[in-house]
Symmetry: C2
Subunit: 575 residues, 2 copies
Amino acid sequence: MKRLIACAMKQEECDLVIRNVRLLNLFTGDTEEGDLAIADGKIVGLGKDYPAKKEIDAHGAYALPGFIDSHIHVESTMLSPEEFALLACAHGTTGIVADPHELTNVCGIAGAEYLAEAFARIRKGEISPLDVWLQLPSCVPATPFETSGAVIDGRETARELERDCFHGLGEMMNYPAVIAGEEDCLRKLEGAEKLKKVTDGHAPGVTGDALNAYACGGIKTDHECLNAQECREKLARGMYVMLRNGSSAHNVEENSKAINAYNYRRFLLCSDDKNAHDLSVCGHMDDALRKLVACGVPAAEAVAAATLNPAECYGLKGKGALAPSYDADIVLAEDLVSFRVRAVFKAGEEIARDGKALFSCEKKYLPDTVRDTVKIKPCRAEDFRLRLKGDRAHAMRMLPHNLITKNEIVSVQRTADDVVVKGTDLLKLAVVERHFASGNIGLGLVAGYGLHGGAIGISVAHDSHNLVILGDDNADMARVAALLERVGGGMALVCGGEEKVFPLDIAGLMSSASAEVISEKTAEISRRAKEMGVRDGYEPFMSLAFLALPVIPELKLTDKGLFDVVNFRLTEIDA
Amino acid sequence: MKRLIACAMKQEECDLVIRNVRLLNLFTGDTEEGDLAIADGKIVGLGKDYPAKKEIDAHGAYALPGFIDSHIHVESTMLSPEEFALLACAHGTTGIVADPHELTNVCGIAGAEYLAEAFARIRKGEISPLDVWLQLPSCVPATPFETSGAVIDGRETARELERDCFHGLGEMMNYPAVIAGEEDCLRKLEGAEKLKKVTDGHAPGVTGDALNAYACGGIKTDHECLNAQECREKLARGMYVMLRNGSSAHNVEENSKAINAYNYRRFLLCSDDKNAHDLSVCGHMDDALRKLVACGVPAAEAVAAATLNPAECYGLKGKGALAPSYDADIVLAEDLVSFRVRAVFKAGEEIARDGKALFSCEKKYLPDTVRDTVKIKPCRAEDFRLRLKGDRAHAMRMLPHNLITKNEIVSVQRTADDVVVKGTDLLKLAVVERHFASGNIGLGLVAGYGLHGGAIGISVAHDSHNLVILGDDNADMARVAALLERVGGGMALVCGGEEKVFPLDIAGLMSSASAEVISEKTAEISRRAKEMGVRDGYEPFMSLAFLALPVIPELKLTDKGLFDVVNFRLTEIDA
């Protein structure tokens, strides 16, 4: 503190002075011109004529606080934490509130610990380029109708929350349980409340009395508002509203209509789920800001949603603003329209310039806890036989560009012990339990996907991440399962004599390869799957990842069998 | 939590439903109509048709969060904590951030502990009507040029701050020490920063580099802005700006000019110093809100400065808003102009109605630590003799309605061993050390006050609270000192054969009497002093209380002697 004060008084040399900035001041909304002085990783002042060990001329660029993503599942990028950090930092991100929901559903607490440790090991000299505040996943498993890699109950959640590594409690997706006052669920919420840790929410369409009840659970954020009216109601009940700029969920534009000069301090920008391609090509929070400003939200209000507001919501001391004693996490942006990032500083150290990170992550952290996580009971072609009692069955009808399936009754051709799918519009879907080699295989029928002549499969399958395998040939489906086990999870394809696989060696969710390799290899295997006849409107592998998610209507499949989401129960295929 | 949720869902009876409120929602700025439902001391929802054990009809009154005073020295009211709570709560205050600077300068940490304990003992059933967040005084003593009752250095401050009873660090008045980087001072600030506790500021007129340096001390608030421009600069450097509605300092009107729709969340309302009369007659935060709205600040922005903003600034969980899971601390106000308080609820319990508290504090907490605190070495008339070398002396020239004195050179008549003041415009001022009976007496001359024929004195004397005695008769001055010691401090007057005293039995600062008695008795003794010739523009006793404060220009007196504030050093009376 002594040195900061001496530097502010120009009695000592600052470590760095960034000259000629336009500082967008988020406390006043004004733009101030001057030199930004930095010592010991902190801002010491905005002024003129600071003596400095090092000077950089910003040539009038806007100085903004480092961007904070209020809610992200890093797993959705399929990137390792290291590769994620390289990309995110290059786009101006210096902090994320991460909810390792997928890793934890596969690896338990060890999955969250892995993420924390992997990020902690990324350094540029003394500096950690990316701050990560970890929210302990609250829904492991997401539902009792599937087998996840771990079960973390209310008591364990409350105990784990006491650890410093968990900043708060991750999104409480099980809103029916909150509203119903289910005890195990409330133990988690009460645990967070007792520790004064922030609990994130997830309550699509929950309004009125149910919203009051949900908010009584001490839940402080929501990223699932469907429209501006829902945003306003959630704001009114004390929740921060997140505007989501993900790869599939885009509600910045619609929900920005709820922002005004009075309430802007209660909005946050987040990614939630974003793939590597979008992160690399479109950007991260810089992209979200660009969109928000394009919607007509004043820049000073928009930037607050990616900086000061998350710092306040999550109690991130020293973050979210550029003022004396705040951390020198700084983005130099070309303007407040494109938000093109010229340079990024973390704790006063330049970590990215012109879209390139200035640190490297050659060596990836890959502990045993997240490797070789696919364990299945050896399966044969016969295990994929589907024995029906009659000729009519419930099939999942796929809809292009949509995660919803229709529960459609179809006529089927049968043999003595199987359904014939070859040469029909139907395919077989299998969800193979892959955490405990239990041999659980859920079987179902899918209509409208268009693949033929083999099978494809993936180990990313929300939220329990069992193997999801789709095909018209039992033997090929069994080979896909075996392939995925062999490489520790990933994407696999079998078509006649051809076998292709792209490993997701981190928990079967993410790849330790470089972002370029991931991008190239996933594009290649997807293209090959597409050639097997997958219709337009489906991303061949990622479409599968949601067929086992038993919270999205109407009909889904888990390792325990076919699931009727509308009636929220396991059901029969026979119609 | 289970019950809150069940009540929100109308499955269980709420404890209380306040029907027909207009809720001023501080998250949205909107006014919502409905019934406010309360269970277990918390808000569970705003809606209709809640089953309830008890109902109150608000008849359309505005429901606001309980008011929070962001910065107050309770001692300045001269009321005991109990009497203060009765008055403040009746005006809608349900929480205060208290800085027991005066008590601590007299009694050390025990003074702060007394305040905490006295407030904690005030109950209405299970309920504490007034929340008190204690800021540990940072300047004990305020300067090294006086003798206070305690010395709390940097190391002790850092240690004490670790206690839960101290919410943060009190106003750092010694801004020159911060800016100079003095080590003992920085130990205090670093102690607070390490614990993530909020440090309050006090930096009148500090701007530019010096303000950057001060803010590098991690200081997060300021209540000394002289004008809107200073407010804006302090906001820009990350400080919350307090608008002060005290008895002497009124800067709500001037500083409200700095408030706008973008920055309103960074303003706080406070009292700082307020006497019992103003508190009783004008009000507390209700009065501040009335004034702020009269300045043209929209009600939703104004109310935030007395509720949500302090809750955020000081991290007061569950406070500052009326939303599910927030504490049911509620003010029902007639309108958003007069802010006339109809009823006040704390944790869902009605604690005041129509300006009267609904709880009582018959029995006052009066521990030995704050009683009988005036200890002087017995003094005689001779001790007040002022021996000068020549005929010209520095006198403190009083200015009506002003705490500043002018350093004036006057001609004096002398005897062999004293100055003659009887029959002149001069009076003798003495500051008698009263904590350790050291026998320290500082002597000086005062011009322009107008008293004659005796002496008056008071044990409230910022910030060290020694005895300040003014008179034209040495024997009467000695009798005043003896009187004040006998009653444990207070206000005393000796005029010929007449003796009058009003005891301030709590540390010589506050009275354990009822507010009515205090009001009547202080008015009576002040009237009597006025009759001794005190000119208009001076409140006879309280004017003395600032003559020993060595941080207000130009000339002041401490127990160590005459103090030249402009050059910040002890000085000679001889000119």
